[in-house]
């Protein structure tokens, strides 16, 4: 049996391991095994590829492998859970750039490319370039090295459209006319890199879960098109799996914000011209001591965390409060909105890190039907995802967005720094409801004082 056949057979095993790994990710009990199987599949693919007869010189490979792996280990060990979105963005970018380089080598070393390879190289460079710089901008925004708010300048949309047209022209020359168009290739690469920046800078920090998901699907797509360039079926299968992943997560995120993908990527929020009914009324503040008395007699408590909880680093204090409530005979659950945090599932990871058992982490749809039986709902660092205006006020910019119906609980505590509105600047009538009490101050110190009250009462 020659090595080419052997390699192809091993690739089939790898593809099956990737798919099986994703299947096992369907439950937290088997997820680690799934990740391990997937990694074994990858190792197998790499090892058999190294036996390929096309590889003659190993010194550069070893250099790249050692440097990349060492940096990978270093980065993974150092990354904190709150930094996960920016790490993932960075990885997307690197994946995109790696594919661009692979395609560049393929283009450079073959003077006569077939139609399939030419079209695939064109698509790879375009998507790979956008993925790389787009991810870099997303990384900058998430790590706060760039301002999180949308960046725009006069003529931005026009410039983006012009670049897009230039990309199409490049495509016509690159694919339609015979010859080895190196200059067009380089122009295309430059334009794609520029396009990646222009597409992501106008998107605000709160929409990052969608951007990350879209970039995820791009990084899969570019692996896929590279598979067509190299005529490699494993790249096509793996790329398609990743692409599907990005698409599904993008759809889930958009649904959770009740916006279309086009609206998130190309249009800003708050275009509604109708004047929203401004809620009149007064927010009723409550002290931590009084809040404790209410919590002490509560039989069921639902905690709704938002990104503000993670920013305040309050998750450990919250877990402690949850445990004290349970010792007091209270049922404690956490309700997680799909877009809470800066990437899909981010809030779950942050709470798991604080040792909150995952069976207490519930999805919005599981919590909402039982909300009227809940004694106390504690909203920590969340705002728009609990805004009842999404249900009640047709003029509200977030009208129609699915929210956690905290206002249906008997009592709602909102932990908040001040009365300022959320990132989108949308009024939240929840604060003025009859059953809402505001606890002002830093989320972490508020929760800590509640914990202290419980402890002193137990003594």
């Amino acid at each position: 049996m020659n090595t080419d056949v052997f390699i192809s057979l091993a690739y089939i095993v790898s593809a099956v391991l990737f798919a099986f790994g994703l299947k096992l990710l369907g439950s937290p009990a088997t997820a680690r095994k799934g990740n391990l199987l997937s990694a074994i599949g990858m190792l197998l693919a790499v090892v058999v590829t190294l036996t390929s007869r096309h590889i003659i010189d190993y010194k550069w490979i070893v250099l790249g492998l050692l440097a990349g792996s060492a940096l990978g280990v270093y980065a993974a060990n150092r990354a904190k859970m709150i930094q996960m979105p920016e790490m993932v963005a960075l990885l997307h970018g690197f994946g995109g750039l790696a594919s661009v380089f692979v395609d560049w080598v393929a283009f450079d070393s073959h003077l006569h490319l077939g139609l399939i390879a030419t079209v695939s190289i064109y698509l790879s460079i375009l998507i790979g370039g956008i993925t790389f710089t787009g991810s870099c901008v997303a990384w900058g925004k998430l790590s706060e090295k760039l301002p999180g708010s949308p960046i725009s300048f006069p003529g931005q949309k026009l410039l983006t459209i012009l670049i897009f047209l230039a990309v199409v022209v490049c495509g016509v020359i690159f694919i339609g006319f015979p010859g080895h168009h190196y200059t067009v290739f380089l122009i295309l690469l430059g334009l794609s890199l520029l396009l990646g920046v222009l597409l992501v800078i106008p998107i605000g920090g709160a929409d990052m879960p969608v951007v990350i998901s879209v970039l995820n699907s791009y990084s899969g797509l570019v692996a896929c098109t590279t598979g067509f360039v190299l005529d490699n079926t494993l790249l096509i299968v793996a790329g398609a799996l990743v692409g599907a992943n990005g698409v599904i997560l993008s759809i889930i995120m958009c649904k959770a914000m009740n916006r279309s993908l086009i609206n998130v990527l190309f249009g800003g929020l708050g275009s509604s011209t109708k004047k929203s009914v401004t809620e009149t009324g007064e927010a009723k503040p409550i002290s931590a001591e009084d809040a404790f008395l209410v919590l002490e007699s509560a039989k069921s408590v639902v905690i709704v965390p938002g990104y503000g909880l993670a920013v305040a680093q309050a998750q450990h204090a919250v877990r402690e409060l949850g445990e004290l409530l349970e010792e007091n005979g209270c049922d404690v659950k956490y309700a997680i909105h799909p877009v809470a945090g800066r990437m899909p599932g981010h809030m779950n990871v942050l709470l798991a890190e604080a040792n909150v058992p995952y069976d207490q982490l519930l999805e919005m749809d599981a919590v909402n039907p039982t909300m009227n039986m809940v004694d106390v709902c504690i909203v920590i660092g969340a705002n728009d995802v609990v805004n009842p205006a999404a249900r009640e006020d047709e003029a509200s910019p977030i009208y129609g967005m699915p929210v956690i119906n905290v206002d249906e609980a008997k009592t709602v505590f909102v932990l908040k720094r001040s009365m300022a509105s959320g990132f989108a600047g949308i009024e939240n009538p929840l604060f003025y409801k009859e059953n809402t009490r505001m606890i002002f101050g830093d989320a972490k110190s508020t929760v800590q004082s509640l914990v202290a009250e419980f402890k002193s009462a137990a003594e």
Binding site: L22, G26, P28, A31, L36, M42, A45, V46, T49, I55, D57, W60, I61, L63, L65, G68, L71, G72, V73, A75, A79, M81, M84, V88, L91, G95, L97, A98, S99, F101, V102, V105, S109, I116, I212, G220, V222, F228, N232, V237, G239, A240, L241, V242, G243, A244, I248, L249, M343, P344, G345, H346, V349, A352, E353, P357, D359, Q360, L361, E363
Partner: protein, 95 residues
Amino acid sequence: MEHLIYLLFILALSVFLGFALISRVPPLLHTPLMSEANAISGITLIGALVAAGSEINSTLTIVLGVFSVGLASFNVVGGYLLTEKMLKMFKKKGQ
């Protein structure tokens, strides 16, 4: 042309498989899912290995080859380790 159809056939079935598998992953695990997907997209590494080790060697292709191997292996190693790091934290009550 026949070969293209064959590749597209594989693509279509893989996309379908991806949708079927991933729609069953609970939102609880979406962050680890994404970082594992990230690691899988590092599969471009196998293309990079051939690019960095083949016989046609100009300085440009060597540099591109080494960087593509480095970036892709960062993606693979970093992606799988991050996923493991996160999944390790998910515990059931009393576990």
